[in-house]
Structures are given as C-alpha cells and as structure tokens.
C-alpha cells in the first residue's frame, strides 16, 4: 500500500513530494468490473488512456515480453490526480475553517486527504486505506516540520535532507 504526499505552494507548484510504501496490507477491494482488463493498446494514446484510467496489472505483450503498464502507480497519473483534487480541496477550504480536510476527494482507487496551512500551503496525501487519526497525526507533524524548515532563512525546503528524513520517519510511524 502506498501513500503519496505532495506539499504544494499557493501557486500549485510542488515544493516537496514523497512516496511512501507502507508495510500494512491494503484492503484491496477490487471491483469485478476492474479485473481482467483486455490486452488493449494499439496506440500510444491508448497507453495514455490506460494509465489515466488507473487500470491495474495490464500486461502489454510486446516482442520483448510482457510489460506491466499502468497499475495506477504511474507517477504522472498520481500527480494528475493530486492536481485534480485541488479543485475539491479549494472548494472545501473556502467553506470550512478546518485545516485538516479528511478524505476530501476520491478518484480511481485513491482517497485524497489534505491539510491547508494558514499560509495557504497545501499538503496533499493520496492514500488507499482509511486511516483518519494516523493521517491527522502525520499532517500535524509534517506541518510542524514544515514551519520549522521555513523558519530557516538560509535553507530551501527542497534541499534539506533533514526535512526529508524526518518526514519519512513520520510517514513510517503513522501511515
């Protein structure tokens, strides 16, 4: 089960991103509709479609052997989903005062939770399983680390390996 965290600036640019593979098993509830997808890709655009629709475990047979494609783990697709979920996040955050927006959006198999700091920086987390309290605690820790990192006038967030390490530790702890 994997988690994807993005820290986005108010202009929607990612400041930091993290992919965390949790050891906990995902409660996979695969719909019968989604299983056994056909070997179906005759052009590159079909590949785009496959990836974007989140089809999982589709083996594409090429002369060099079967190639696993899509699988919902395509980084670009994850980013697209995170970006698209900003619509829902913005909608909710304008109406509610809460910083932690629980399961604010769902897309394909992903649930999107978000955390909006007072400076309008958004933490977007894509996760599969329900883990409200864990995610809330994770967000609070990320926020604290983010604020501390921001206090340093000499260091950008992206370049700080300490920040990265702590986020990873926190993700391990809560997710």
């Amino acid at each position: 089960m994997s988690h994807h965290l993005f820290i986005l600036s108010p202009a929607d640019s990612p400041i930091y991103s993290l992919t965390h593979h949790s050891t906990r098993a995902a409660a996979s509830t695969v719909s019968p509709l989604a299983s056994n997808l056909p070997t179906w890709s005759t052009s590159a655009f079909a590949g785009t479609l496959t990836a974007l629709s989140g089809a999982s475990s589709v083996a594409q047979h090429t002369p060099s052997g079967p190639v696993k494609m899509g699988g919902g783990q395509d980084r670009h697709v994850i980013q697209m989903i995170a970006n698209a979920s900003l619509d829902a996040i913005e909608d909710v955050m304008r109406k509610e005062n809460a910083m932690y927006l629980r399961a604010v959006d769902k897309f394909n198999e992903w649930t999107v939770s978000a955390f909006v700091t007072p400076g309008n920086v958004k933490f977007v987390l894509l996760h599969e399983a329900k883990n409200d309290e864990g995610i809330r605690a994770f967000f609070m820790e990320v926020w604290e680390m983010y604020v501390k990192a921001q206090l340093n006038p000499f260091h950008g967030l992206i370049s700080s390996s300490a920040f990265d390490g702590r986020i990873r530790a926190s993700a391990k702890k809560y997710l």
């Binding site: 108010p10 509709l33 989604a34």
Partner: protein, 1272 residues
Amino acid sequence: MPNPLSAGHLHLNFPTHPPPPSQYALSLLRPSQFPLAVIGIASFCQTSTLKSIYSQFNAALLDIFPASNQFPLARTCFVFEENDIATNLSASNDLPGVVIIPSMMGNKRLYIGTLLADLCSQILGEFGVVMQALESPFGNEYLNGSLLAALPPLSELPLSLDSDRRGSVPNFSSPDVLKSDSASTSIPPMKRNSSSGPNYRLGVQPPKKRLSTIGVASSHARLYKMLGDFFLLAGRTEDSTIWYTEALQLFKNSQDHAWHAAVLEGLATISVVEAWSAGHGLHNSTTSSKEPWSDAIEKLTQATTLYHKSPLYYEGESIYAPLAYLYSCCVLRHSSLLFAVWSAKGWGPLAFTTMLQPGPKAHLPPTLAHDEADQWLNLERLTKYSGISRSSISNVLGQIHGPWLLHLHPRERLSILTTMASVYACLGYKRKEAYLLREVLGCVMDLIVCGREEDGITKVSGPRNTGLGIENGNITPINPLTYLDQGSVAVRMSESSLGNDSVLRILKQVCKTIGIDLDAVKLVHASTQETELAESSQNEASTNDDGSELERPETYGWPELQVGVVREAVAVAEALPDFPAVAQFALSSLKTLQTVLSPGDQHHLYSTSMRAITTARRRGDSKFFEYWSGRPVVSVALAPVPLVRLPVEKHLSVLSKQKSDLTPIIQGITDPFLYNPRRVTAKKDQEIVAQNEVLEFVVVLQNPFIFDLELQCLSLSTSGVKFQSEPVRVVLPASSFHQVVIPGKVMATGILTIRGCFVQAPGGITQEFILPLNTAEEEERITRRKSALICEAERYKYWGLESLPWEKPKRSIKYHSSQLNPRTNLRFLECKVVPEQPLLRIRRTSVNHGALMLYEGERSTLRITLENISLLPIDFVHLAFDDSTIEPAQQALAEGAMSSSDVYETEHSLINQPVFTWNKSEGRLIPPGHTLSLSISCFGKSGCTNGNVHVSYSYTHRTDLEKPSDYFYTRQLSHPIMVTVYPMLQCQNMDLIPFPSYMDYIQTPSTTTYHNNLGVDDGASWCLFSVEVRNVYGSPFEVTFEREQYGTSHSSTTTTIPPGSTSRVVLPLRRTALSQEDTSKAIPTLSDRQFVVAKDKLSTAELHLQRELFWYREALFKSIQGYWKEVGGTRTGEMSLRQQRMTLPMLEAFKSNVARVDLSLISCDLPKENTIDGRRVWKANEFLKLKVRITNLSSFAIPLSLTLDLEPSDCLIYEGVIADIPIGRLDEGMTREIEFPICFLTNGHFELVAQVRAVGFDIKPAKAEIIAAVRS
C-alpha cells in the same frame, strides 16, 4: 385512433446515431436505449417511383439496423410530394409504412402530429408483441438464459403469436402516454397480490400463477422487470411500479444483480416522472424532512452498488463491456439528477426542464450559460439554493472513473468521458475537467490513429511505448515523418482536417488549466505580417522595454505535469497532423517552460518544431511565428574604432589659442580642480565616427537553451542617417553568450541612432528588440521595478488557478507607482557621424627596430616620416609625446605627499627635461599622397624605458563642406619607441667648503699660489665646490664642470674618468649673497596647480631655513654646469647635479657674510718694518694700532656692532671697550674703519679676532682674525 387533438405530453427523443452493435446485447435489459421507431423522410418527384423510395428506405434501414435485432419496433416513411405532381395515392396501399404527404395539403403540422401519434400506438402494439413472445415458456427461457437476455429470434417463436399480432394492437392503451391523468394519483398503492389490476391489459393472465406453470426452471423476475420497463415506456407509471415492485421481491433473494439494479433504476425514474407529473413538481413538500429527490437517489445508489458487484461470468460468457456501460450509465444518471437539481437551484420545473431538454448546448443548463457562471460565488449560490454541494456531485461522478472504462467500446467511453468532463466544467472543477479532457483526447487520438492504421497505409513496426510515454523520456513515435525516415512512402488517404481545430482547442484548454499557454508564441499570417510588424514596433516601448525580462522568481503550476502534458500535446498535434500547431506548441513550451524542461526535452521540442516548420512551409503554409526565444539580444556596442581612425572633436578656437604646454604634462589632465563633480557627466554617450568608413558593431546574444539556436537573420535597427549593412545569419551555441560583429557603413553625416536589433528565427517574423542605454535613472527604474515585482511575487494574493499569469491582468488591484510606468524617453546608443577624414601613416622612422639607446643626459635627434594616404589634404599636424617617466611623476604629484622642494624637483624634471621635444614650425600642409619628415629631439633621462610619439593631424580648414563647422576633427597616430638610457656617470658627495682661514694672515695675496691657479683673489669671499664623479660605464668619459658667475671670470675644470674609477672635481666658487626678499620667497611651483596646504608643519625659523637652502641651491646650480663627452667619440651630454643634497655647512660656506672685516696692525712710530721669514714681526711694549675695516656686504643698510677678542688678554693692554662697539648704520657697500691703540706686553703670538654682527638681525656674524707675532 384516439382523438388527435386530445391534450397530453408525448416525450419523444430523437437520437442522432443508431446504437452501436456492441449494445445489442442490452436490448432487453435496457430497451430504452434503443430507437423504438424509425421515421424515414423522402421527397417525391416525377422521376422516382414510390416503389423505389420504399426499397431505398428499407435498404437504408437494413444498413443501420441488422435484421437480427428486434428494434426498431415500428417504422414509417413520410414521402413529401413535390409541387404539382399528380400522385398515385393508391400506390401507398401496397407499401406498408409509407405515408404520402401531398404538397397541396394545408395544416401539415397537425397531420404529421396525427401520424406521429399513429406511430406511437404502433410502438405500443409492438410492446405487446414482444411481451407475448417473452411470456411464452420458450421466451422466458431465453430471457433467463444468459446474463443479458436476448430476445429469441422470431422464427423460433410459436406461430400463434404472430397470427394474433394484428388483433392485439387495438387493445393497447391510448397513445397519449405520460399524460397527467388524475386517475393515477387517486388510485391507492396496490398490494402485490392485486398487481394484475385493471391496468394490465396486455392480455396476459396474472403472472404468478400462469408463469409458474410454464417456466419451471426460471423465476419470473426478469419477465416482471420487462413488464415494468414497457409500462414505463408507455407512460403508465402505476402499472410499472406494480410490476417493478413485484420483480424486486423476486430479485431480493437471487444473485441477478444487474437486473435487480435495472429495476431499481426504473423505480428511481418513476419517482422522478411522478414528481414531474404531480403538478410539475412544484414545491409542496416543504414540511417533509427529506428532500423530494432523496428517494430516487437512494435507489440509484443501491443500483450502483449492485452493478458494481455484479458477477461478470454468467454461464460461460463474459460481458465486461455491457456491464461497465450499465454501471457508468447508472452513476451518470445519479449525478445528472443531482446536477440538474443543483443547477436548477432546487427541485422544480427548471430541474425537469434541465433533465428533459438540456438546452441549446448539451449539459449546459441555463443557470450556467452566462459568462460569469464559473465564478465561485455564482456556483456557491446554486449550492445554497439547492442544498446540494458541488463536492457531493463530484464524488458521485467520480465513481464512474476507474479501470473499467477500458472495457467500454470507444464510442461509449468517449461519450461518458465527455459528459463527465462537461459536468466537471460546469461545477467549476477545472483541473478535473482537464484530467478527463486528456482522457477524451487519448480516446479520440486512439481512434484516429487506429482508423488510419486500418487503411493499411502505415504499417507500424517495432514495439510501442506503453504508458504515458513520459517517465522514460521518450516521445511516442506516432509521427508520420518517422515513417518517411524508414524509407517507405506515406500516403495520406484522408486529407480531411475537419475537427483538428477542436482537438487543438481541447489541448489548449487542458494546457491552460495546467498552467501552460500554448498560444504564447502567436501565429501571424503572412499577409498581415507587415502591419503587425509596424504595430509591434510601436507597442515595443511599452511591452518589451524592460531590458531584462525580469526573470520570473516564482513558478506556477506543476512543472513535471506541465512537461508531460506539453509533450503529449506536441505528440497529438503531430499525429493529427497539424504542423503549424506542432511548431507553435513546441515553441510555446520552449518559451514558457524553459526553466523546467530537461535537456532531452528541449532538444526534442526544438527539432520537432524545426521539422514541423519545414514541413508546413513545404506544404504551402503561409503562417509565421512570433519570435519566441525570449530576449536574445543582450547588448549592442560599437566596436572601438582603431585608434588610428578615431576622430577627436576639437573646437576651432584651440587653433588660435596660445597654449602653454606645461599644464597638461604636469597634471596629465586639463582640469584645474582636483575634484570636479561635473567631469563625470561631461562624458558623452556619443561616439564619433567618420563617414564612409566601415563600422563594426558588437552584438552580444544569449542562448539560454541547451541546443544550438539558429537565427536566420540578425540586423541592426537604426534610425537617423543612412546605415548600410548586411543582415547576418547566426547559430548561437547552446547555453552561452555569443558575440557577433555586424559591419556596416554610414553613408551621410549626422547622428546615427542604434535602437536595437532585428531578429528573425527560421519560419518566424522579424522582431525588433530595442536596447536603450543603461543610464543611471534607467538602472534605477529597472531596479525599482524588479524589487516591486519581487515584493509582489512573494505575496500570494491569488492562489490556485487564479495565480496563473494570464489571470492576473483581469484583476483590478495592481501595484501603482510612478516608478513602474514605462519610461517615456528612451535613450539609445548614438554615433556622431562626421565628414570624411584624411588618414596618415608613418612611413618610416630613423629608429632601428623602434628602439632608442641613449646615455644619461645625452641629446640626440630622430626623424619620423609621415605619409598622407587619403584623398584629403592635411593642414594640421601636432606632435605630443609621452614617456615612461611622466606617469610616475604625475602620480607622485597627484598624491601630494611630497615636500614642496621635492615637488619643485619633480616638476622641474617634467617640464624642463622632457624626453622628447619637437620643433613646432616643422608642421605644414601635406597634400594627398605626399610625405612629411619631422625631427624629434630626444633626451636621455634616467629611468625612461619607453616613450610614445603621438601625431595629431586633421584637415582643419575644409573646403568641401557646404556649411563651415565650429569644430574640426583630429586623428592620432601613435608610434611607440623603446628607450634605453645607460647611466654611466654618477655624481656624489657634492660639497662646498670655505677657504681655510689660517691662510688669511699671509698678507701677500699677490704671490699666493691659489690666486694664480684658481683665480681667487681673496679667501674670505670664495669657497670651494667639489663633487665626486664616478664612471660606472665601460668606457672613459671626459667630464667638464663650468662656473658661470656674475662678476667673475669663466672658469672650468676637465678630467677624464676611466671606467670604474671615481674622480673629485673641485672648482672655486664665489660666495654669493641673496637678498632677504629672495630667500624668503616660498618655493615656487612650476605649474599652476591648485594650492594645497602644506602637510608638514614647520616653525617660522625652519621654514626660513628651508627656503634659504632651496634658493641657494638653485643659485648654485645656476652657476655650475657639468658636461660629459665621450672620449674618442662624438656623443656629448649634460650632467645633472639635482640629485645632490645641500647641507647647512655647505650653505654657510656658499653664503657670503653680512659684512667683510679686515684687521691690520699699524705701528705708530716706526716706519721701518721688521720681518722674519717674510712675516711681519712686532715688538713688545710698543704702541700699535689695530685697524678694523668693516664693509657692509648685504644689500641694505644695517646697523653693525663690533666685538674684539684679544688673546691672551692678560698679556696686552688696550684702550677703551672691546665688546659691542657700535659702528653705526652702514649703507650698502659702505666701509668704515676703526682704530684701537694696543700694546703687547710680552713676546709671543697673539690672536686677534674681530666679530661684526648686525644689530637686530639674527644673522651669522662676520669674523676675521689675525695672528700677531711679537718678538723683541
């Protein structure tokens, strides 16, 4: 037939396309998906027969709907008669379903209405037929035979059904379906057992009993569902509710999820229809706690879940596509219900209108059809009214999206995706819309590419990339051009570009949402290019003036996503193919995403765009691109004109002015002020260049990209006088600055202004980039602007999509400051073009290899020959010189740390001992092609290593100009000369010593040897000058020192000094006295420098002494000159004593006393003189007179006093006082004598000393002494 004019509602849906064959499997599960009837429309003219029309209609029908399908249930063909054609009406009787509408007929509308009603009743009749078929045991088996039941082929049905088919038609209900009849509301909900109520008129018996007998194996649930469906289609909602409820009961225990869900969907539909029919859904249930639509929503949610878990295998067949489709449709139904209610501001007539009649544009309800509909406030208002939040709609809609979309057939997928996208768009969820639009594009492109491949023209070989083709950095190879590369010829079958524009529009929409402006580089049509250009140059100042397009400090959007989307966009445009769009997209993304694109991407996009431009050009495309690579021109500067050709502007008045050459040499600059604040501003921006000469402009270009950038055409943009230059073609190396030299020629005199550069990229239009001068205020303006922008950039006033740059201009709030306004007065690089100038060159010099060798102090001459190589005469030649000693001296002077006497020394050496001098009278007119020789005298100055001869020349008094100018222009030639000065004679230990005074008492001056040898008459008024001269060179020199003193004869001494040895030169020198005024003068400065307060604080006495020393030293140097001469050679020169110091004892020796004192003893009585050894001897106890003769040597009258010192004093007697005897004031040159009686008492030597001092002056007293020998 019912009354055709009866009131009611008939909802007919006219689909534009027949259902795809893939949906035929759903014909029983979802009969509403299929067209129930087909209406053909034909025009009937003379040439055609009715029969042919009929067969044509049938053939067309067969083409669209295969015979195996039971739909459409009814068919008819309206044949419209053309004018005045006599028709055989009887023919219509033979052909079933053909209705002829005569042209004469009035009120066709009513007639056609009637015909449609007839058609509807036909459909209802067919429902019965189908039901009959299903009702039979055989039919029921078919119905339950598979997951998606199919209708048995008619041939397999019992014939009896077919036979009574006609008869059953009249039994059907009236065609005014969905009529709001009061009866339906009055009937109380029936119990399940009485479901075979009075409305069941199909002729079938109450189902439970009868069907249980026939279909033993299968339940009747599906049959009941079918009944419910048909009743619903027929508008009899009560009946359908009954049958649906019946079916629901049966399904509850079965695993037939799909059918179960279909029943729930039907029930949900019924609830909506009933709400509509009940007083058009006007709000009458405000009291109820539940929303009126919650019932339907609940059922739909249930149905969604059922579809979702519906098993895919049913007795060996797999049916992904239909199930996925049903699921999607169900979710779509759910969300569109919510959407309709939301967009209609609640449950009401508007909501039904939205559901039934989507309006002019599909999926755009009237509340959202205005311009500002997508603003958050407007959207939230809808939520407020309807009580449905946008996120809830989005959540429902989001359920559709999943991998199962891949199961769908392309057309269904496309329609579902577009519907989703448009709903998201209406909700204001732009990013989600973009996500779906990408999928829509993928879908469309997939179809396009596949369709093309099916033509069999393009055979794609090799493995395809899978996925988005983004992660691995490869671009999808869907590109016809690559096929060309493989050697095969691509033939495009379909030239149609219909729809390409729409695809590109969608692309742009997606990119805009992601934060990329694909229109950043505009396409300009060739015909409008000229006018555009003119306009752009006018707008230039306002838009493009910020020399530095301030680097965007912030990024917006998601760079990784942007790169991926852009690559996809380019691939899509290539696959269409639309070459101008390919190039536009590629260039736009290069322009806007330059900072985030990886090198590989940059290369790819650039090469793609170049290829596309070439292809488009080849295919006759006449569009051009704006210049795209940011701001390529960094600076333009005039390459320094070679010094030889540089004209220097001079005012004519300098010619007439009598110049003193001293000042510039001393100071190096002409300014009398040490600090001149105006000097900086006085520098002009104008360069002076000559007409008709080649100028070179250095243009610095930058290429921020990773690839070599080609500029097709680069030329200067100039105004003012005519400038002739050729545009150049440049290839800028990757990510670097590049210098290009553009040569050109100015054709006229005047001011040439260089505004900037014209740049043209391949396939682009020429764009001007102006380059204003970086003046101080300009710099400040840019700095201010930058800081203002940076300050603003860090503040996120707008976030999300509103922070995108093209959203910003829409906002009214802006940072206003006068500093940010575009500047109004631009200043540019300017060149002053002056008339053609003559040109001179140095033809030859007498110096070999440019090196001059001199002995120190030597004077020699060199000749320099100039040649006029132009066609203009030269009437002004001036020489100026420069050598290596000047600058250090000037620097030392400028520092001002030297004492005033050192300053004098330095200045003296600068002014009086220049290395080079020339005779001004030698300069004269040089006609074209002629030469002029000039001689320059050189002086061997120690420490000089090199020098320069500068020749300034000009054609001053021009005759070839129309109007005389106040200025003339000079050019300069410089000739460097290496100078080597050999030091060979060193003067040291200069000294001045007084004559030994003990000689003084020798009273026979005429016979003394030094009088003879040295020409010294009297020891007291002379001193000796001596200096050691050392020969440090390798050859002997003859050294002569000369004395030239007023009042004395000329005297000189000459010695030959061999190499390595030192010789002392001695020369007697007459002591001199300088007047008080002379010595008290300040040490002069030779230049008229600004007065600087002396740094060393000296007391008055010290100052006086310093000045005295200085002036006496000067007097010494004036009277002593040294020369040297090469032994056996011709070279001669001077020796300088200026290195020597003058000390106080030397001063005392050189300076003559205040008065001259002469002592003499005179015997009173004895005339006879007593001498021993030639010396006068006196007797003891004899009265003598001591005569003191005093002469005032100073230049003014002074009072003097005399003090005598007689030793040993106790052995002699004298009269009167001997100390401070007043002598009185003596005029200049006057003499007075005083006599003292004196008597020596013993034999021996007596020392008689007289001291004369000036009373009231602090001057050293004059002394004289004699020794008297007394012997008896």
